[in-house]
Symmetry: C3
Subunit: 209 residues, 3 copies
Amino acid sequence: MATVQIGMSTLLQVLEVAGVVAFASSGLIEARNKKMDAVGVFTVAFITAFGGGTLRDLLLDRRPLFWVQHQEYIILIFAMALLAIPLLKHLRFSVAESLIVYVDALGLGLFSVTGTSLALDSGMPVVVCVMMGVITGIFGGVLRDIICNEIPLVFRRGQLYATCSFVGCWVFLALDHVQSTQALALAGGILMVFVMRVIAIRFNLKLPS
Amino acid sequence: MATVQIGMSTLLQVLEVAGVVAFASSGLIEARNKKMDAVGVFTVAFITAFGGGTLRDLLLDRRPLFWVQHQEYIILIFAMALLAIPLLKHLRFSVAESLIVYVDALGLGLFSVTGTSLALDSGMPVVVCVMMGVITGIFGGVLRDIICNEIPLVFRRGQLYATCSFVGCWVFLALDHVQSTQALALAGGILMVFVMRVIAIRFNLKLPS
Amino acid sequence: MATVQIGMSTLLQVLEVAGVVAFASSGLIEARNKKMDAVGVFTVAFITAFGGGTLRDLLLDRRPLFWVQHQEYIILIFAMALLAIPLLKHLRFSVAESLIVYVDALGLGLFSVTGTSLALDSGMPVVVCVMMGVITGIFGGVLRDIICNEIPLVFRRGQLYATCSFVGCWVFLALDHVQSTQALALAGGILMVFVMRVIAIRFNLKLPS
């Protein structure tokens, strides 16, 4: 059991780094499309990666903030911003972009479900826990689009995105409620978001409009 | 006296629901105009209704947030967002919109004056209390317009809006200062906002520009 | 030594008023360009002047907020907003604007370095202190541009701006670390930002893009 937990914890950390990199990358790309300089590229990447979690922590009054405890993420995104400008000139995107979509789906799952879990630990009622999860998952992207002067993609995009986060948060709460281990509930919720998002992309599933 | 207080408290609750519905409706309508899907419609409606109060509570460091204590409002707006999409297709707006303007004026009064009252209870100086009242009243709409990628209507609109909130907050503080009952001060402030707003609409009153 | 400290403290206060006025002025001007009314002009000026510091305080969970402790600044900006509308009609800008650029550089230095200093007092790690300094210096302008529906100037502008803030914050931390007096470290950091910004404007220095 201890081995499983260590495995789970290492896996979560790997997913976390992957999720942060994926979210930051979408910020990098959008900032570059808007012809921003290195300052803008860093800021937009940072806010895309940590904006959702920071907003959640402000709403729940949790401190220290995630990125205050993990300075290394600030340095990572700083390095990404410096490297992105020369790299993005020469890279062909087709491969990178389709990879980003899947890593982003993992990040969405991880951020949403851990956001719900933190809200639950803070004693929030369930509906609020789900909202906090969805906010953690999607508000980085919302803030990215607001800074880039666009209507947020997640409110326009046909292919299910916030809906996957929403469903995954409920799956986590349901698993947690029926007394499965915390690790299993987390894994179930994250997997639900990921699978649902991948299906939505493959089959072009959209909300009715 | 007790009867008056119960009557006042019930009246305030009815006004609160009406104000939330009015503010959320303006969010629903603007989100639909921007062709958002159900996720966007819900989020914009929610932020329009609770954005001002949430910003005030972040600034004053008050917890729990209003909508965390009242899960039922989240569910109400969720239902409104789901129903809005089919309804808004078939509805003729002329009647609904002119109704919304008046209910919105009530919501503006209620949110502004209670915002000022909460700031006063937190020991803020009077100028800050008025600012908190105006923020509570207008920032939901400001955030709605930022998300919808518009310059906030309240900063552009000719017909007095924030000014009504501003005056009403001072009226509340003046009544509260002269030792009238809390209920009377609240009612006076809310009425001031409402009446001033209705007059501004009827006679097309604007700030000099 | 006491005389030096009093002199320093008075100087800092004068710089603070100058910085607030400079930042608020840039808000006034942009709001007027967008044809906002007095409400918009006041709000945008206020957010430009205090948005960065307020965001820093929300992130660090510091209360009371700067402008809550200094009501006189609210009244100052209120007066500026009322006067700006008739004044901005008749004023020729050439002189005023070039003055504002230099006062703004001072404000940027002051806000950045004091922001870093406050974060250091809150026990933040150094990378976070620098980020808090830069946020304090530039986020007022970022929020101004978001409300005015523009991509933030500081992310687009060729001439070094955030970079000056960034370098000055590190200079302050370095001086503070080598045990120079707090006053000297502050002065060194602020001077660094100011001089670097002036050089950037004069010689049109930009980040490589």
